[in-house]
């Protein structure tokens, strides 16, 4: 009654050889973790980092919330391993300019800051470009409102001495959370972690938040520990009002612990310093990267939309994976779990050294193709390109290539096709068939 959904075909698409070579874009903690793990497997790894140093966002961190180790030492050791490994090449000041081809035939053009270019042919690409942080919107004159990474630095530098800011002692600190980024738990984790340290150093700390996001291993215990040490916690529905008061800042919020509205008073927290967590945002360059790599973007310009059936670390293209803060800012432990999941995906892909296309796959019948680019535009997996390969085409003019006459037509790369059939249904010339 209607044409068949699939056609069957005797000859299966040929397997594609995959060399153990992987390109990693972004040398943050996720990028270097993936690099180290894959290098241990004997994979040749190239890290393309746009900055001049490895480490990414973690370079601004000094304390873990869940273990006593010093972050910079841990990071330094890791970077040393990665930079010293024989089969890892680190390109600094490097940007991906082009990515052509498909799984098994990727051609990546990388330009470094000195203007040198390198062409790589990786079997898989891992995107770990992280996110950027914007300074918290401070008060008009910017004074005495600092970001959370500045507070980390202050604490790391003060060592055993009392905390001081621009030469003045700091006695009272207030953290204000959730003015932006109310879906990211890093701010709560950071604030409580720093509050405990500050309180131990003799400061009086208050944390003002909409919700305390303690959904991380060990966080509820740390929260209780902070309360035990005398850190004050206030929750708000309306963000607090800040004003200058003497040498400090006054943070005013209604005291919600008092139930009766008429008795509810406004609490003023007089603070020497106010800490407002940086806002996380997608790197504007991600847009350009996604254009070059034909990747999809999701909410706020971050990589990939949130889609349960398309599990976390996958991108819309076969052979390209993503992990870490480029998709969603998370605490380090969760980012690293993703990094290891990517390692697993890459290992599974490279396992055996060949990729055999799985059924079904779409195929264009070149003579029928009108080169209208509909399928190229609509394939969600960027599996179709227009190439000169047909020996006959009713619609488009032939071109000479090596003395042979070749016609232009759309071509589906079987290694990249997911077999959804969207192109088949959309082709106005009915030139595409889905083969089982």
């Amino acid at each position: 009654m209607y044409q068949k959904v699939y056609e069957s075909k005797a000859t299966a698409p040929a397997p594609i050889n995959l060399k153990p070579e992987v390109l990693i874009i972004g040398g943050g903690i996720v990028g270097i973790t993936v690099a180290r793990e894959l290098a241990r497997e004997g994979v040749q790894v190239v890290i393309a980092e746009k900055g001049e140093t490895l480490g990414g966002g973690v370079r601004d961190l000094h304390f873990f919330y869940d273990r006593p180790a010093a972050v910079q030492k841990w990071l330094g050791d890791l970077i040393e391993v990665v930079e010293g490994a024989g089969n890892i090449t680190v390109l600094k000041g490097a940007k991906l300019k082009r990515l052509d081809g498909q799984l098994g035939r990727f051609q990546a053009l990388i330009r470094t800051s000195e203007g040198r270019e390198r062409t790589l042919s990786p079997s898989a690409v891992v995107v770990a470009t992280g996110c950027i942080t914007r300074p918290a919107e401070a008060m008009s004159d910017g004074g005495r409102c600092i970001g959370s990474s500045e507070m980390e630095k202050l604490l790391a530098e003060s060592r055993d001495l009392p905390v001081a800011w621009k030469g003045q002692p700091v006695k009272t600190v207030t953290f204000i959370l959730d003015r932006t980024d109310d879906d990211i738990k890093i701010h709560t984790v950071n604030a409580i972690k720093l509050a405990v340290i500050l309180q131990e150093k003799g400061c009086q700390v208050a944390v003002v938040a909409r919700d305390l996001k303690v959904s991380a291993s060990g966080m509820e215990l740390l929260y209780r520990q902070a309360r035990g040490k005398g850190v004050l916690f206030f929750k708000y529905d309306e963000p607090p009002v800040l004003s200058h008061s003497g040498d400090g800042i006054s943070v005013e919020i209604p005291d919600m612990t008092v139930l009766r509205k008429e008795e509810r008073e406004t609490v003023s927290l007089l603070s020497d310093l106010v800490v407002i967590g940086e806002t996380f945002a997608a790197d504007p360059e991600t847009q350009e990267l996604c254009r070059v790599m034909k990747l999809r973007t999701g909410a706020g310009g971050a990589l990939m939309e949130d889609n349960p059936q398309f599990l976390r670390v996958m991108s819309n293209r076969r052979g390209i994976f993503l992990a870490g803060a480029c998709r969603f800012p998370q605490i380090i432990a969760e980012s690293l779990s993703e990094a290891h999941a990517v390692v697993q995906e890459v290992k599974a892909l490279l396992h055996g050294g060949v990729y055999t296309p799985v059924n079904p796959v779409a195929e264009v019948d070149p003579p029928k193709c009108a080169v209208c680019y509909t399928c190229v535009r609509l394939c969600p997996h960027a599996a179709i390109g227009v190439e000169r390969y047909g020996d006959r085409n009713v619609y488009s003019a032939p071109a000479e290539k090596n003395g042979d006459t070749l016609w232009q037509a759309a071509r589906v790369d079987p290694a990249a096709c997911f077999g959804c059939g969207i192109c088949v249904a959309e082709c106005p010339a009915r030139a595409i068939t889905l083969y089982q």
Binding site: M1, Y2, Q3, V5, Y6, R296, E305, D306, N307, P308, Q309, F310, N316, P360, L378, P380, H381, F418, G419, C420, G421, I422, V424, A425, E426, L434
Partner: protein, 137 residues
């Protein structure tokens, strides 16, 4: 009502509709008697023509079981489908076929109960509408 038992053609996305149908079967839920299931790899595979052909060649109602939006295994299939069903409905309006004869219904793998409930409702609705006058067969 008379003994009219409407024929329903249900296109089932293999990522959601088909497993839901299987779940309905294992749970032994009621489904209409005169039902034809057409598995498709993704609802995005369904051409506008399939929908109209099905109506032309004997179906009283056509249902597409697709994944919920933002949960397509191929990211965009159900979005493409929506456009095509809209187009098919325009054509149906022009030739005087009732809009109720074509519908998208979103399910997940675990929506066996919804699958059966929806089809039973659809069968009732079609029974009231009467046979599809557009069919040729």
């Amino acid at each position: 009502m008379s003994t009219f038992e409407p024929k329903i053609v249900a296109f089932c996305c293999e990522q959601s509709g088909l497993p839901a149908a299987e779940m309905a079967k294992t749970l032994k839920l009621k489904i209409p008697d005169n039902l034809e299931l057409v598995p498709v790899p993704c609802s995005g595979r369904i051409e506008t023509l399939y929908l109209l052909k099905a109506l032309e060649s004997g179906a009283d109602g056509v249902v597409v079981f697709a994944c919920y939006e933002e949960n397509c295994r191929y990211l965009q299939g159900n979005v493409r489908l929506k456009g095509r069903v809209g187009y098919a409905k325009q054509i149906m309006a022009k030739i005087g076929l009732e809009q109720e004869r074509l519908e998208i219904f979103h399910v997940a793998t675990n929506s066996g109960v919804k699958f059966s409930e929806f089809l039973m409702q659809k069968a009732d609705q079609l029974r009231l509408l009467g046979p599809n006058l557009g069919k040729i067969a």
